[in-house]
């Protein structure tokens, strides 16, 4: 069990497959020009990323956290956490230097800005993956659900600010929210995942729940994020 609720994640390479998908390449191999851009941008981005996360573990009673003003509301998250005895609140970020790099690139080289932006979106998921692994080491005997993002399905995004306050995320890792409920630094993620025994397969991701609908880049290529 980790004794501190904050952690740092050091990435050494970035997920280009995801980045290419975000840029509309689908599953196609990048041409040499794009590969060169990816090389350069990955190098610069790895220098800028300061991966951090903060998390807390709560017990669940009837799908809610006792003595808490934070409600796990909405059909989708309730279903997602069905059968779970604990829920983990996680917030992860690549930090402010990444926003800065993207700003600079938008002035000096817009094509690189696009590549950095896509790579950074992939990177924040990588940080979450590694954070999740570190956290789960503390619960070797429990099964877990996948990470369910705030705002996903009908899990209200309106809880974003309270969620961050509960994690003390502004103080611990510098993540805040603006009045439109967007996270800053922009390459940040808030999510929950459940822990329990004999969790049902129902907690698999489903396209019905997803707000992306017809614009999902996985589905455009004939797959889903589950099959990917």
């Amino acid at each position: 069990m980790r004794t501190m609720n904050v952690g740092k994640i050091k990435l050494t390479q970035l997920n280009r497959t995801d980045a290419l998908r975000y840029m509309g390449y689908g599953t196609r191999e990048p041409d040499s020009q794009t590969s060169a851009l990816l090389d350069k941008c990955e190098r610069e981005l790895l220098r800028a990323i300061d991966g951090k996360y903060v998390y807390r573990v709560f017990s669940l009673t009837d799908g809610q956290i006792p003595d808490s003003k934070f409600r796990l509301d909405g059909y989708s998250v309730k279903k997602h956490l069905q059968g779970c005895t604990k829920v983990i609140f996680l917030c992860a970020t690549l930090s402010d230097a990444v926003d800065r790099l993207i700003r600079i690139k938008q002035i000096s080289a817009m094509a690189e800005a696009i590549v950095v932006d896509a790579l950074a979106s992939a990177a924040v998921e990588q940080v979450c993956d590694l954070a999740e692994n570190e956290i789960l080491q503390g619960f070797p005997n429990l099964e877990h659900t996948w990470r369910f993002g705030l705002g996903y399905g009908d899990f209200p995004l309106i809880g974003q600010s309270k969620f961050l306050d509960i994690l003390d995320a502004p103080k611990r890792i510098g993540v805040c929210v603006n009045e439109s409920l967007l996270l800053t630094p922009t390459k940040s993620v808030t999510c929950v995942f459940g822990l329990g025994h004999d969790l049902s397969k129902e907690t698999m991701k489903s396209c019905d729940m997803c707000t992306l609908g017809g614009r999902c880049t996985f589905r455009l290529n004939g797959g889903t994020c589950q099959s990917y």
Binding site: M1, T3, M4, N5, V6, M23, G24, Y25, D31, Q33, T34, L37, Y55, R56, V57, F58, S68, K69, F70, D96, D99, R100, I102, R103, I104, Q106, I107, S108, A109, M110, A111, E112, A113, I114, V115, D117, I135, G151, L157, S161, K162, I166, D168, P170, K171, I173, C176, V177, N178, E179, S180, L181, L182, T184, P185, T186, T211, G213, G214, R215
Partner: protein, 962 residues
């Protein structure tokens, strides 16, 4: 309670955590703690009481997050919460004070029970003091611009409200700050709306930076400049990890240092912290060496930590008293100690036995990310200045921030340590523009800025919004000028350049200039400006006009350094005005000036000859240890002669390529011809020669983005129409028939232009900016700007756009090509500006990322493409209020507005913006785009067009504006 009096004692004890104590009392997860000031005042009073009894001399009222944004979600106003919080803290202080007074009266000369109130370490009877109450202000909870959406001015106003509500406090403490900009807003709000002392602590990570990258030195330079009474660190790390940060603080701070660490970090399940009271106090004791005077605890601490801290400090004082007794005669020796700095006597003395970190006493300025100490020559980049630059003036007039920012980034990459910023030009509102440019600059460059204006109101506006400690350029010896400008420098804690001229002009000789420098120094110091914050510009006169003046300037430079002990600034390139081969005169003069004592050359860092001079000088003068800087610079920059060879080589290659293209542009032609052989579903199948016309099917009543068979057919026909038109234009009339569809009447004749056009297309496809620039330059010798734009650049962009639409290339490649096109346009724009003409635009388009949305990369991509197509884009930026869009559309008479939103949460703002445009009967079409938008939704919110990507926005612009 007199805080300044309290600061004279050896140590001051603050309180511990409020949140941790509230959790112990049973506060529910997710409660807004400040509401408990009203809902559970007895809890709050009790917590303060416990801290005071444990030894706290200052308690923080429970107002950390009591700002209007956070209180909006509660039933209480800021004023209600703040007033109640201060009352609660005061009540606790009264309770303990009255209890102590009673017990003191009973006990007679009290020595034990009140020790915590006065740890002065004297043997005199201790005075009983009441605990002081601090108004506590934490971060607002939203990030400021540029990463966030809150403006500096809004932040100031939010803090102002709290300061006004907290007028009954004894002092103001601004804590747990991570953003220097937000901290500056809070300090200004505190100092401009109250007379209370101001303490500030920021929160650092192990790397010595805050989350937003602010360094310890930047914190100290900026906050000491603003006149805070004490500063330091709180939260973030446990006390052990804070030691190096406190050590660094002691090198830079002029005021007493505050340390308020966490009790380690919290457990994810129990939320309890991992450092106990004794370990906490012991770790804090190691920070006393560095002049730490004010101590307390942050997250995870409770009264037992404060009690442990107090006994540690008591012990330290008595040990100190013993060794003082032994060496009492030495104690009065420290005459150098400046009382205004009021660092702890304890700290001064305790350094007798160990090394004390040496204070940095050179001129230093900073941005949050970068501190520049002028301990060796530092380069001030001079390019952000419209004087003599028509293209720059045009950029100012058009508020073309990207041009100015591009210039800034270029100078920093070339090696500028500081950037001079001057935006004064006829017809420009200098004050508004200065604020805009400074905010934009500090969002992308990390070097500190030199604010350059002669107008006090411009300087003040700039000093206010500058994030860090800037250099002000400039004041001079004229009495009226000093009276206006020096108080601003003092108030905002900047450094200043003093020009050696006054009412009588520029003195001819060095003596006269030194006299003026002395006059400026005296006036500045009288206002509390420290000597190290003044640099002198002895003024460079043009040597071709006044030959003797050069040596006189250098003589003055030497005396400024040797006699006055100040730093020197010079605008170097003025020296060669009116002479041929200016760069030779410039570099020679630069060498002489550096040798005489020039510290801050104002120059163009893009001129490598000048850069080599500075780099070489640093080696020879011993600044560049082991020549490492020179070697590093050499690895990135070839010597001048090699560069020239390289340039020649590139030119030769470019020529060879052009020749090859002339004979072999069949590839492009083939691409065009490929359309001719294809099956066509469009009603008007184009022949190989005839220019196709758009089918006459009427689909105007169909929804935007409709996918019915009719619409698909029309769209496909449109695409092919566009492609053929493009291909024919680019190939310069490959089919030997002049095209008339583009509306330009004629295509520039085949042959050279066509080849160069094909060359530009190639350059765009390969992302070769230099080639694009060169080829455009060549074209300009043959044809008019409009011919190049309409017959070469736009058709080439169409070809690239086609490939993008067909999935042959992808977004980064599209934009690489667009970047090359931008370079080509830049060549054309510069030529037009220099020849005094104005660029012709195909029409104006407003672009904005809607209110609340801070993701503007999508909008910026669209902007690049639209500008490439020759439209004048009025970029309103991100997070744009609907009313501003309406205002801009009306005032600037714009008939196409593009709105972008990335998140579902900001689609409402998009709808509102469209509504306001309609409500105000603005005569414009509206196109919308963004990741979460759909054609249906676009229709629903009454947009006229849905643009699925940047290319489509250009098609829409063509349709609307032509």
């Amino acid at each position: 309670m007199n805080i300044k009096e309290l600061l004279k004692s050896d140590f001051v004890i603050l309180d511990g955590a409020m949140g941790t104590m509230l959790q112990q009392k049973g506060m529910e997860v997710g409660t807004v703690p400040e509401t408990l000031n009203i809902l559970k005042p007895e809890w709050i009073v009790d917590i303060h009481r416990q801290y005071i009894e444990a030894g706290s001399q200052i308690v923080y009222a429970n107002t950390f997050g009591a700002n209007r944004l956070k209180m909006a979600n509660t039933d209480f106003s800021v004023a209600e919460i703040v007033e109640a919080a201060i009352k609660n803290a005061r009540k606790a202080a009264d309770i303990v004070y009255e209890g102590k007074t009673v017990s003191a009266a009973v006990d007679g000369a009290n020595t034990e029970t009140t020790a915590g109130y006065h740890a002065a370490g004297t043997s005199l009877p201790r005075e009983i003091k009441k605990a002081a109450v601090a108004l506590d202000m934490g971060p607002i909870g939203q990030l400021l611009e540029p990463t966030g959406s809150l403006t500096f001015e809004e932040a100031y106003d939010i803090y102002r409200e709290i300061v006004v509500a907290g007028k009954d406090a004894d002092l103001i403490i601004i804590e747990t700050m991570t953003d220097l900009y937000e901290t500056k807003a809070a300090v200004l709000a505190a100092k401009e709306n109250s007379n209370l002392p101001v303490f500030v602590t920021m929160t650092f990570e192990e790397n010595g930076r805050t989350f937003t990258g602010c360094s310890v030195s930047a914190m100290c330079l900026t906050l000491c400049g603003l006149g805070v009474d004490a500063l330091g660190v709180n939260c973030s790390l446990g006390p052990k990890d804070l030691v190096p940060i406190v050590e660094e603080t002691s090198k830079w701070s002029d005021v007493p240092i505050i340390v308020k660490p966490n009790a380690g970090l919290p457990d994810p399940v129990t939320n309890t912290y991992n450092v106990g009271p004794e370990d906490f106090a012991n770790a804090c004791s190691s920070m006393l060496t560095f002049g730490t005077k004010i101590l307390g605890g942050c997250c995870g601490t409770n009264p037992s930590y404060i009690a442990a801290l107090k006994s540690m400090l008591d012990k330290a004082i008595s040990e100190r008293a013993e060794s003082d007794h032994a060496v009492i005669s030495e104690a009065t020796d420290n005459s150098e100690t400046d009382t205004s700095r009021s660092l702890s006597n304890f700290a001064e003395k305790s350094h007798e036995n160990g090394p004390k970190p040496s204070k940095i006493r050179d001129l230093a300025i900073c941005s949050p990310l970068k501190t520049v100490v002028v301990s060796e020559p530092r380069i001030i980049g001079e390019r952000i200045n419209p004087t003599g630059k028509k293209r720059f003036r045009q950029a100012l007039k058009e508020e073309d921030m990207d041009y100015i920012l591009g210039m800034a980034i270029q100078q920093v990459e070339a090696g500028a340590d500081i950037l001079d910023v001057n935006v004064g030009a006829p017809g420009i509102d200098e004050k508004t523009m200065m604020v805009k440019v400074i905010k934009a600059l500090q969002s992308v460059v990390d070097v500190p800025l030199q604010i350059d204006s002669t107008k006090p109101e411009v300087l003040e506006a700039a000093l206010r919004v500058y994030n860090g400690k800037p250099l002000v350029n400039s004041v001079n010896g004229e009495k009226a000028v000093m009276e206006k400008i020096l108080p601003l420098v003092a108030k905002y804690g900047a450094a200043v350049v003093g020009l050696t001229l006054d009412e009588n002009g520029i003195p001819k000789d060095a003596d006269g200039r030194i006299a003026i420098a002395e006059k400026i120094v005296d006036s500045a110091r009288a206002l509390g400006i420290k000597k190290e914050n003044i640099a002198i510009d002895c003024l460079v006169l043009t040597v071709s006009a006044e030959q003797k003046a050069a040596m006189e300037t250098l003589k003055a430079v030497r005396r400024v350094r040797e006699d006055l002990g100040l730093k020197n600034v010079l605008g170097v390139s003025n020296i060669s005005f009116g002479l041929p081969n200016r760069s030779n005169i410039n570099t020679t003069f630069l060498t002489m000036a550096l040798s005489a004592g020039l510290d801050l050359p104002i120059m163009n860092p893009n001129l490598q000859q000048m850069m080599w001079t500075v780099k070489s000088f640093k080696v020879l003068a011993g600044h560049d240890a082991n020549s490492l800087g020179f070697i590093e610079y050499s690895s990135g920059h070839d010597p001048i002669d090699v560069q020239l060879t390289e340039v020649k080589k590139e030119l030769d290659e470019a020529r060879a390529e052009i020749t090859a293209m002339r004979s072999g542009w069949a590839e492009v032609a083939g691409y065009a011809a490929s359309f001719a052989g294809k099956d066509n579903v469009s009603p008007a199948a184009p022949s190989a020669r005839a220019i196709p016309s758009v089918p006459a099917l009427n689909i105007t009543n169909h929804p935007v983005g409709c996918m019915c068979e009719k619409c698909r057919a029309v769209n496909k026909a449109k695409e092919e129409f566009a492609a053929r038109r493009t291909a024919e234009s680019v190939t310069g009339g490959a089919n030997a028939e002049p095209a008339q569809s583009a509306g330009t009447g004629s295509i520039v004749s085949a042959g050279l232009t066509g080849s160069l056009g094909a060359g530009i297309l190639k350059a765009m496809e390969r992302g070769l900016k230099n080639d694009g620039r060169k080829l455009t330059g060549d074209l300009l010798k043959e044809c008019s700007a409009m011919e190049i734009i309409n017959d070469v650049l736009i058709p080439a962009l169409d070809v690239i756009g086609e490939k993008f639409e067909k999935g042959k290339i992808f977004l980064p490649q599209l934009i690489l090509a667009a970047d090359v096109a931008s370079e080509c346009f830049e060549v054309i724009k510069t030529q037009i500006a220099e020849s005094g003409g104005s660029s012709e635009s195909r029409g104006k388009i407003i672009l904005a990322t809607v209110k609340g949305d801070i993701h503007d990369i999508g909008k910026n991509i669209v902007k690049v493409i639209l500008e490439n197509y020759g439209y004048e884009v009025i970029d309103l930026g991100k997070d744009v209020d609907p009313s501003l869009v309406v205002k801009a559309a009306i005032e600037k008479d714009v008939h196409l507005v593009g709105l972008s939103a990335l998140m579902t949460t900001t689609l409402g703002s998009m709808e509102e913006t469209i509504k306001q445009l309609h409500d105000n009967n603005v005569d414009c079409k509206i196109m919308v785009g963004g990741a979460v938008l759909t054609p249906d939704y676009a229709k629903k919110i009454k947009a006229d067009y849905y643009a699925k990507d940047a290319k489509m926005s250009a098609d829409i612009a063509k349709e609307v504006l032509g």
